[in-house]
Symmetry: C2
Subunit: 229 residues, 2 copies
DNA sequence: CTCGATCATAAACAATCGTTTATAATCAGG
DNA sequence: CCTGATTATAAACGATTGTTTATGATCGAG
């Protein structure tokens, strides 16, 4: 009655399927990842996917949510600490983000790739991905940015600053193949990742401060582009 | 002898195939774009692709290089102007980049999407794409950054700054679907694009200046992250 | 007109995809 | 052991893919 181990333990096989499926989805994308390849690498049969996940969609869905729980239990996003400067919080966040996404020190490094694909070629699960992964990250960054600029800055500007922050960081993940071809040596090891994170944090902090300064006393440099080209 | 119009003019059909193929490749990606759909929309036969381009790969290749020539003859990247501040040059470049890529005011708006895909899921043409499109852009930004920081800043740091610049801008293209779901209203029309470009230029200028300042007199804010989490 | 090269079209090919069906193997309970 | 539900496996299905073949239409030149 009490769920004794059957056969070769269904849980283990299911987990193995999820893991190798995550790898295949990350490498080839949802469309081109073949169920036969996944099953072969996981040592399972083709019909096992129908049995456990009913569908390819179902398999993909479970990959997403299992990657989510794996991630938050592996390395949670840093939350505000009482006696912390906003600048320190930002620096801390950049370190977290680069470590989790660019230099994928997590147990499921495929998640970042899957999200990157989903951004450009979304499936029907992009909505869930946004609410599960992306919006919490954005909200945290928005808090930090607001702490840096003060709430008197219009919300739209703070939102744009927030996207600038994420964009600058995410570029090192999304474009890493191009960056390598351009001669950029990928940070190797936690030390180099931390160094890049510090440089990025400096860049971002300066950018935010300059934006609020330019907002306070506008037109230090001519804001309107010259139409001479 | 002198290439009189044959049938329905092969050049026109080839051009129409290229155009609709660019759209399909941009919308569905290289793998999932179907030759049958392309031919149906272009009003051509399936075998015409083998005739004109020998392959699906050949078609994709010609889409890339034709998009390139179309782009540079449509809106060229701004080149350095003698009596121009480096800050002005940067602002000018940001305007160009956002207009060409984010708010795709060009004749072939598909190119940005194709490049975005190629970055994450590269085909064997990524190398050509880098030398044709991406490296020239990077080199121009690197020139501007060097003019801003001075050549005494280590080349590696200038390279990183350069990537920060491109990453912040490119994010508004790569992640635009996610940004919309996060409540970001896409800039609509040249005026709003110019406004976003100005804000981005402010952010970037402040970031670069702060990085050279932090390099000159280090440790204004604690650079090392605190390991308390 | 006739011939040969160029271009167009439809049908078929071989491979792969996700999904399903049919059947065999393995367990718990009676 | 026997039964019935659960799990595993292999084979096949129907659809779609890129590619090819075979044939027919259209032109310029002789």
């Amino acid at each position: 009655m009490k769920r004794a181990r059957k056969y070769k333990d269904a849980e283990e096989r299911k987990a193995r399927l999820l893991k190798t499926a995550a790898g295949c989805f990350a490498r080839h994308g949802y469309e081109k990842a073949g169920l036969r390849e996944i099953c072969a690498k996981a040592g399972a049969n083709l019909a096992a996917i129908k049995y456990y996940f009913t569908n390819k969609r179902g398999l993909y869905r479970e990959v997403l949510i299992s990657s989510h729980s794996q991630m938050i239990e592996n390395e949670a996003m840093p939350m505000p600490v009482p006696g912390q400067t906003a600048a320190e919080a930002l620096r801390q966040w950049v370190h977290f983000f680069l470590r989790a996404f660019v230099f994928k020190q997590t147990k499921r490094p495929q998640l970042a790739l899957i999200i990157a694909r989903e951004m450009i070629q979304p499936t029907s699960f992009l909505g869930e991905l946004v609410t599960l992964f992306i919006r919490p990250i954005r909200d945290r960054v928005l808090d930090i940015v607001t702490a840096l600029t003060g709430p008197e800055l219009p919300a739209e500007l703070r939102q744009i600053l927030c996207h600038n922050v994420i964009g600058a960081c995410l570029h090192y993940d999304h474009a890493h193949l191009v960056l390598e071809r351009l001669g950029f040596k990928r940070p190797n090891g936690p030390g180099e990742v931390a160094r890049l994170a510090d440089l990025l944090a400096d860049f971002i902090l300066g950018g935010i401060r300059h934006c609020v300064a330019a907002r306070a006393q506008p037109c230090e440099t001519p804001r309107r582009r010259q139409e001479t080209w």
